[in-house]
């Protein structure tokens, strides 16, 4: 049931991302100065912002950008992690030692710290904050992938492939990667929600996407000054961030359970 619910919500989010006009026919950037700061009503489901723009329309039209940021950050994080994880998991001892020490150093920049350092150097913005989130999440993934590769490497079927004289590359591509792929997929699913949350936190702090773009983080950043008076400006975009994080996590968890029981 949980799985059906998550897939349903994800399908809706994908529709909103691909064809936002279907769910919200209005213009997300249309300004109506006379209708600014309207609370939620039937005419404006989630209210309006400081320029009278409809927040529901803006949320729907912002889905694509927000999901793209989450996906790209996860892709950067998992891609780098795969590189490091494979180097450490498959390489000779010294390489494993070096990579592990390197990851340890990165772990000493806990949480958002590395992302903030990256933003200090390259300046705030959508692209830098996306890369920053990817970089900040990579060490965690790399550690999991490394231990995963180490387990698979000792599996009997890989020993059999070695005995049968398969080349190193063939062993990695045909035997190791497919067996790591399942857990990698789970990792990505769990990671997307987390990346969206992190990227939106950066946007909220004014370091990521900037208004007037219809992107969830940017909407949050714009509504920041009005938290106590016009709560709907931050509450609803935040609700969608929570919703997408929850459904991707739920889906990731149930995939994980399936992998485990099979």
């Amino acid at each position: 049931m949980v799985e059906v619910f998550s897939i349903l919500v994800i399908a809706l989010l994908v529709i909103a991302a691909v064809a936002p006009g279907v769910l919200a026919p209005g213009d997300p950037l249309a300004i109506h100065p006379l209708q600014s700061f309207r609370p939620p009503s039937l005419a404006h489901l989630f209210g309006t912002d400081e320029s009278g723009r409809d927040i529901y329309t803006r949320i729907v039209h912002g889905t694509g950008a927000s999901l793209l940021i989450g996906l790209s950050a996860t892709a950067i994080g998992v891609g780098l992690a795969l590189l490091f994880g494979l180097l450490a998991g498959l390489g000779p001892r010294w390489l494993d030692f070096g990579t592990t020490r390197f990851l340890e150093v990165l772990f000493a920049f806990p949480g958002l710290l590395f992302a903030l350092l990256f933003i200090v150097v390259y300046g705030p913005g959508v692209v830098t904050s996306t890369i920053a989130v990817g970089l900040a999440t990579a060490p965690g993934y790399a550690r999991i992938i490394r231990s995963q590769v180490r387990v698979v490497r000792r599996a009997p079927y890989l020993e059999a492939a070695t005995v049968l004289g398969r080349s190193r590359t063939s062993r990695v591509i045909h035997h190791l990667l497919p067996n790591v792929a399942g857990s990698l997929f789970v990792l990505v699913t769990l990671g997307i929600g987390q990346s969206i949350v992190w990227a939106s936190s950066l946007s909220y702090l004014g370091l990521g996407a900037v208004p007037p773009a219809a992107e969830w983080g940017a909407m949050l950043s714009a509504g920041r000054t009005y938290i106590t008076s016009f709560w709907w400006m931050t509450f609803f975009p935040g609700l969608f961030i929570v919703l997408s994080a929850v459904v991707t996590t739920l889906l990731g968890r149930s995939l994980q359970q399936r992998l485990r029981s099979s």
């Binding site: 949980v2 020490r101 340890e104 150093v105 772990f107 000493a108 920049f109 806990p110 949480g111 958002l112 710290l113 903030l116 350092l117 990256f118 933003i119 200090v120 150097v121 390259y122 550690r143 999991i144 490394r146 231990s147 995963q148 180490r150 387990v151 698979v152 599996a155 067996n179 790591v180 399942g182 857990s183 789970v186 990792l187 929600g193 949350v197 939106s200 936190s201 909220y204 702090l205 004014g206 370091l207 949050l220 938290i227 106590t228 709560w231 931050t234 509450f235 935040g238 609700l239 961030i241 929570v242 994080a245 929850v246 996590t249 739920l250 968890r253 994980q256 992998l259 485990r260």
Partner: protein, 328 residues
């Protein structure tokens, strides 16, 4: 089978280790990581485009004379070769000198010392509250049957997926705008601490709860619980005396991670509730590109992180006797 490892710590080495070499090795590792953090930070900051001397005098666009720039360069050692600057920087770090903040015109150490207490109080209280919530949630969902288990795990996932800023906004709405019980900004004293602590503690308790529940379930199915039951201990004793202690071990292992989550959360929470602290100083330093302050906070946080992980490893060895003897 292979996938079972996802999300779990890598298998521990069960080799017998003596205390002294272990401790020396750990300390060596700490020193190495701190040196690496300092080096990475130093060279990363050099990648920033623009003249640091200009940043000190008020950023690009401010009308500064060539003499003033030259004077600042000489004062901050910016006219020396990069390698000398690096050595100088390491030397100053060794004696605990973190330089002067560009924006606040005060020594970085002073700024950090003034803000550390607030963040530490917030983090420690949040950690305690989060552990209590997680424990209650895990105990209830382990023992309360199937419905409690699914509600419990759903609550844990939702709690873990909620971003701090959104939780903070929702709590402000509920407790301050609607109910009018608590102030929307953090006032001095325990009342001002309630909403910031809840904001930090709830997501953390979601993560901790998930881990605790898994290890409690493991423990309830393990041989030592079976033997305790066979000895005739009551189901309550079995749970509170045996399973609970077992659940604490992986939770302790999460301390380093929890520390990171608390620091990141503090940046957001202190900003929203206008609470003075290290997180808010870091954010304003990032926004103003106050390089010495950013470096100072990063190094202090890395030092604290290494301290926390080393202490938890130590605690692990004390709590879990299996790490001290030959297991196989």
């Amino acid at each position: 089978m292979a996938a079972a490892l996802i999300g779990e710590a890598p298998p521990r080495s069960r080799r017998r280790r003596r205390w002294l070499p272990w401790l020396l090795l750990r300390l060596g590792g700490v020193v190495f990581v701190l040196w690496a953090v300092a080096t990475v930070t130093f060279f990363a900051i050099r990648l920033i485009p623009g003249d640091p001397a200009e940043a000190i005098l008020g950023g690009p666009g401010s009308q500064t004379s060539a003499e003033a720039l030259a004077q600042v360069r000489a004062e901050y050692g910016l006219d020396q070769p990069l390698f000398f600057q690096y050595l100088h920087y390491l030397g100053r770090l060794l004696v605990g000198d973190l330089g002067r903040s560009y924006a606040l015109h005060d020594s970085v150490l002073n700024v950090i010392a003034q803000n550390l207490g607030g963040t530490l109080l917030l983090a420690v209280v949040s950690l305690i509250v989060a552990s209590l919530i997680a424990l209650a949630l895990a105990a209830w969902s382990t023992r309360g049957g199937r419905v409690a288990a699914s509600i419990g795990s759903l609550l844990e996932i939702v709690a873990a997926a909620v971003p701090h800023f959104w939780l903070a906004i929702s709590l402000i709405l509920l407790f301050s705008s609607v109910l009018g019980w608590l102030p929307p900004v953090s006032v001095p004293g325990p009342v001002g601490l309630v909403l910031p602590v809840l904001t930090l503690a709830l997501p953390l308790s979601g993560f901790l709860g998930q881990v605790m529940r898994e290890s409690m379930l493991d423990a309830m199915a393990s041989p030592f619980v079976l033997s305790a039951r066979a000895r005739g201990e009551s189901e309550n004793d079995v749970f509170w005396l045996h399973a609970l202690r077992h659940a604490a071990i992986p939770a302790i292992g999460l301390a380093g991670w929890a520390f990171g989550a608390l620091i990141s959360g503090a940046v957001v929470v202190e900003t929203i509730f206008a609470r003075p602290g290290l997180g808010r100083s870091l954010l304003s330093a990032v926004q103003q590109r106050d390089v010495p302050l950013v470096i100072g906070v990063v190094i202090v946080v890395a030092l604290a992180y290494m301290l926390v992980t080393t202490l938890t490893d130590l605690a692990d060895r004390l709590v879990d006797p299996r790490l001290r003897v030959d297991a196989r």
